[in-house]
């Protein structure tokens, strides 16, 4: 073990080199001889304190400065970058989602508008067709009414003519009947008056 030679130097700094390792090993084991401390339990040997304190101060001081100036800013930076990146990604996801929602809303609105437009066009077409049919029907009805009234007029004329002829036929018939009955000649005007009275 490398402990022994160094320990030997501590035991006898001046003569340490001259002694053999085997010789000092025996001293070490007994622990009877110790530089200043005199066989102390090593952690309580105050002769080693200055050296330990000095090297602790040097090593721990350098360690502290190294961590404070190099390592900790770096690790802190890594963590911060990651946190920012995650927050940024979440923001972006939220933005994309809202964009997608807006697109869906716009699509639905457009769809509703298109439906409304289609309904309006259909309604217009239906209305137009209805109006046209109505107009045609009215035209046809007007034609028919005209024909009907013409026919009625003709019927009335024919009827009037027929009624007029009925009167003269009745007079002739009445004159003939009166003659046949042998009542002599009867005035034409009397017969006509009688027929008229009877016809009423």
């Amino acid at each position: 073990m490398f402990v022994t030679p160094g320990y030997a130097e501590e035991v006898a700094p001046a003569a340490g080199e001259a002694q053999t390792d085997a010789g000092t090993a025996a001293h070490t084991e007994t622990g009877a001889e110790h530089g200043g401390g005199g066989g102390l339990f090593p952690p309580f040997d105050s002769s080693t304190y200055p050296s330990q304190l000095l090297w602790l101060a040097i090593t721990f001081g350098l360690f502290y400065l190294f961590l404070k100036n190099v390592v900790l800013p770096r690790v802190g930076g890594i963590l911060e970058v990651r946190r920012d990146r995650i927050a940024g990604d979440l923001d972006q996801a939220a933005r994309m989602k809202s964009e997608a929602d807006a697109a869906v809303a716009a699509y639905e609105q457009e769809l509703a508008e298109a439906k409304a437009r289609a309904n309006a066009i259909g309604q217009d077409a239906r209305d137009a067709a209805k109006a046209e049919a109505e107009a045609k029907r009215k035209e046809v009805e007007a034609g028919l009414d005209q024909k009907l009234s013409a026919a009625e007029t003709r019927i009335a004329t024919i009827k009037a003519n027929a009624m007029k002829e009925v009167g003269s036929i009745a007079e002739d018939t009445a004159a003939a009947i009166v003659q046949a009955l042998g009542a002599g000649k009867v005035d034409k005007a009397d017969i006509a008056a009688a027929v008229k009275a009877a016809g009423k």
Binding site: V3, P13, T48, S51, F60, F63, K68, V71
Partner: protein, 249 residues
């Protein structure tokens, strides 16, 4: 020498240095301090060098240790306490890596020496005192006078508070030191049983199975203790720093 459980704590000089009559030699302890710092620093530095947005396995270990200590400090001392984050993180990593390195056979455990843990504890308490007085002036002394204590009890309570404050660096350092020391001695003793029992032939070999099993189990326990003590050290540091930030309880 092999069976001396204390030998593992010996400090030996690798490069003798003496300044002004004091011994500042580069020892095995100093070598393992350097190793601790290099191992911890290199691990943290190299694993985060790719700065991956999606961390690799090793990078996430570094990030986890960062966030572990950060949340510990934030919970104990609030967001104001984050100014001490480099200190607490350095302490945690240093103690943790020193403890873990010490678990390797033939390696020296830096934290098994009271002076080292005591120096770290004094660093913490010193920071608390200096920062406390800097920020609150003499208002920092309110730390020793809890609110709502009947006037008659105040001197007694202040005495108790002062004693408890002064014993903090001692308890903080002795806890870590004693855990490391006792764990390593126990390991060494049980491992020593294995070798000394095996020397008695077949019966001894059979008999050494139990201490061997114990050695393995205690090694596992020591890994836990290494982590736990680093955690406890850091948590207590956070709580003491909270006193410096908010002395009024």
């Amino acid at each position: 020498m092999a069976n001396d459980p204390i030998h593992q704590f010996q400090i030996s000089k690798l490069i003798p240095i003496e300044i002004g009559g004091l011994d500042f030699s580069f020892t095995n302890s100093a070598a393992f301090m350097v190793a601790t710092v290099i191992a911890a620093g290199a691990f943290l530095f190299l694993t985060t060098s790719s700065r991956g947005l999606v961390p690799s396995r090793m990078q996430s270990v570094s990030e986890m240790s960062y966030e572990f200590v950060a949340s510990m400090l934030r919970d104990a001392a609030g967001s104001q306490g984050m100014r001490f984050f480099p200190l607490v993180f350095s302490l945690f990593m240093f103690v943790l890596v020193a403890n873990l390195i010490g678990l390797f056979p033939y390696f020296f455990t830096v934290t098994s020496h009271l002076i080292v843990t005591f120096a770290l504890a004094l660093l913490v308490i010193g920071t608390v005192i200096v920062y406390g007085f800097m920020k609150h002036g003499f208002g920092f002394l309110k730390l020793f006078v809890p609110q709502g204590v009947p006037g008659i009890l105040v001197p007694l309570v202040v005495l108790i508070e002062v004693i408890s404050f002064l014993s903090r660096p001692i308890s903080l350092s002795v806890r870590l030191f004693a855990n490391m020391l006792a764990g390593h001695i126990t390991l060494k003793v049980f491992a020593g049983f294995v070798t000394s029992l095996s020397a008695f032939g077949a019966v001894g070999v059979v008999g050494s199975i139990l201490p061997l099993f114990m050695t393995v189990a205690i090694t596992g326990l020591e890994v836990l203790v290494a982590f736990l003590q680093a955690y406890v050290f850091a948590v207590l540091t956070c709580m003491y720093l909270n006193d410096a930030l908010h002395p009024g309880h």
